[in-house]
């Protein structure tokens, strides 16, 4: 099965540029997620790939074949819609067989293909039902089956799980990924739910304002966000601005000094002296130390702070801690019992701090 390739894709609606020169290479058999906030252009990108929208600029390739000028019915694409869009006047069987009949698949083969696909989504025996006689979760599976039964070259899914309850949604993440891997089909999955994206993607393309700001595996996106938007959108991050004041090339660490003269040790990366940088720090990577005799690794930062706000989140406690002129969010076990105005020591391992150029 061929990979999918977007080159300089651009789509405007009046004055808004919904998709702005997007380049994306999705490999054969890969499931790529477009992740981003509402209105960032995810659906528009997907609809351009499907051929429902004609891009103003750019090309779409499937393997070596340009699809840019093909009408949707010639692209061989399976599309799963957010609202499922099962045809209400057709039974499940007819919904699935519609595409096969259009392709003039012989009658006997249609029956077996539909049966196979229904088995794939574990809904054998539902063929004679009408869509309104199915639960939301079942409709979702049928929508998936309808997209798969035509054996598409690419599967596109636009927030397919957003209408399901939390438990089912979590289950379906695994199911969709498993199905995609078993079929070896190239897939593009659109969501604004980061947990969904992290669980089911091979790679994630994070979108904002019509632009892809970072592409990477879930681990890369989470652990090494390369811009402020990604660091803030996926998981939580506290941001600290500073200037590189020292470089320790031998050990590959740099010292970043904030405007209120706090020195923080970070991985050097490709930083230059006197460069302005922003540090992104995840709340779960900070440890609170109340016992001063606790063992501190040599490369860790030790900072002084004061608790200013406490939120109990069930599994963790979310502290907001003032350090100099800025605040850090810290997540701890629920057995810490600090109160506002308590003085604390924070430990942050240097390698857990992400460097971000401030202009992004």
């Amino acid at each position: 099965m061929p990979g999918l390739h977007l080159v300089g894709l651009l789509k405007r609606f009046g004055k808004t540029t919904a998709v702005n020169k997007v380049n994306l290479e999705i490999e054969d058999g890969e499931i790529m997620t477009l992740l981003g906030p509402s209105g960032c252009g995810k659906t528009t990108t997907l609809r351009c790939i499907a051929g429902f929208l004609i891009p103003d600029e750019g090309e779409i390739y499937l393997g070596d074949q340009s699809m840019t000028d093909l009408p949707p019915e010639k692209r061989g694409i399976g599309f799963v819609f957010q609202n499922y869009a099962l045809w209400p006047h057709m039974t499940v069987f007819d919904n699935l067989s519609f595409g096969l009949r259009l392709r003039r698949v012989p009658r006997s083969k249609i029956k077996s293909r539909v049966d196979e696909t229904l088995a794939l989504v574990r809904l054998s025996g539902f063929a004679e039902r009408y869509p309104r006689q199915l639960s939301g979760g079942q409709q979702q599976r049928i929508a998936l089956a309808r997209a798969l039964v035509i054996q598409p070259r690419v599967l596109l899914l636009d927030e397919p799980l957003s209408n399901l309850d939390a438990q089912l949604r979590e289950e379906m993440r695994f199911e969709i990924r498993e199905l995609q891997k078993n079929l070896g089909i190239t897939a593009v999955y659109v969501t604004h739910d980061q947990a969904e994206a992290l669980v089911l993607s091979d790679r994630i393309a994070v979108m904002n304002n019509g632009i892809i700001t970072q592409i990477g595996t879930p681990e890369q996106i989470y652990n090494q966000p390369n811009n402020r938007f990604v660091a803030g959108f996926i998981g939580l991050s506290s941001f600290v601005d500073g200037i590189v004041t020292g470089l320790d090339t031998a050990r590959a660490y740099a010292t970043v000094t904030t405007s209120d003269e706090v020195a923080i040790r970070v991985p050097a990366g490709s930083m230059a002296l006197n460069q302005e940088v922003t540090l992104a720090i995840r709340p779960e990577h900070i440890t609170l130390i109340s016992d001063t005799s606790a063992e501190v690794p040599p490369d860790a930062n030790l900072l002084e702070g004061e608790v200013i706000r406490i939120a109990y989140l069930g599994d963790v406690i979310d502290y907001r801690i003032q350090v100099g002129g800025w605040t850090l969010r810290v997540h701890t076990d629920t057995d810490t019992h600090l109160r506002p105005k308590d003085k604390v020591q924070l430990m942050i391992p240097a390698e857990r701090i992400n460097l971000i150029s401030p202009d992004l």
Binding site: R47, A50, G51, F52, P71, P72, E73, R75, I77, G78, F79, F81, Q82, N83, A85, L86, W87, P88, H89, M90, T91, F98, G99, L102, R103, Y130, R132, R146, A147, I150
Partner: protein, 293 residues
Amino acid sequence: MAVAKSDASLQDKKGERLAWAFPLALLLPATALMLVLYAWPFVSSVYRSFLAKGGELTLANYQKAFELYFRDVVFSLEVAILSTIVAAILSITLSAYVRLSSGRLVKLISLLYRLPIFIPFVVVGQMMRTFLAPHGLLNIFLAQVGVIDLNAPLQLFNMQGLVLSFVWKQAPFMTLIILGGFQMIDDAFVEAARSVGANILQVILRVLVPMNRASISVAIILAFTSTVGTFTLPFMLIGGKIPTTVTVDIAHRVTYFGDWGVANALGVLMYLMVLIMAIYYLRYSVKKGIYEA
């Protein structure tokens, strides 16, 4: 305690009885109005179709109606059915076009198509008399294009011309209703069909039309009943020629013979034509549900 309890339940029962009667009481004025304004004139006209001139009950009116006007009953039906079918095909095509395309031309069309709806039948009749005349606009145009010879122009003050006029008047009205239905359908239903391989024609026939059976039947029934019942247009285009429509015959019977008996009998026949459509509608659209096959 026990007494008080049964008292309470007694009052509950009374309350229930009242609750049952109250909505009916509210419906009474509306029902009475319907009876006086609709049912009574209708029943009286049916009744009078069975009265002879002297006042005795008879089937003579129907016998006479059939003898004199059977050809016209068939003609009326043919005109109504034909123009409704043509207008339905036209309006479904136009609605689908407007629903599935975008751009300035579509915006213009979706404004312009409504105009004929606001033109009264009399004016349509007047327009069509000049447009369809032997040396009218249509024939002159066709002659210029070279399709016909102006010495032998198309004769259109007959069924063809009548059907054409009705289509001109009814198709926009049907489009208004059908397009409304088409616009209610989410893009995803159309796109889903295209993604599995349907071309535009297949999308229209297999998705848009079946998903809109309700609005299409409403449009067809309203257009059909209005066509069957129109007097002015056939009167102006065909008048007393043979064959003509039942509506013209009714007017003729009343104006020249004062013959209300036969006129009412013809009226009842017209009502039956419409009734067939109404039954069809109730059987296939309402009872079975919109979405079932």
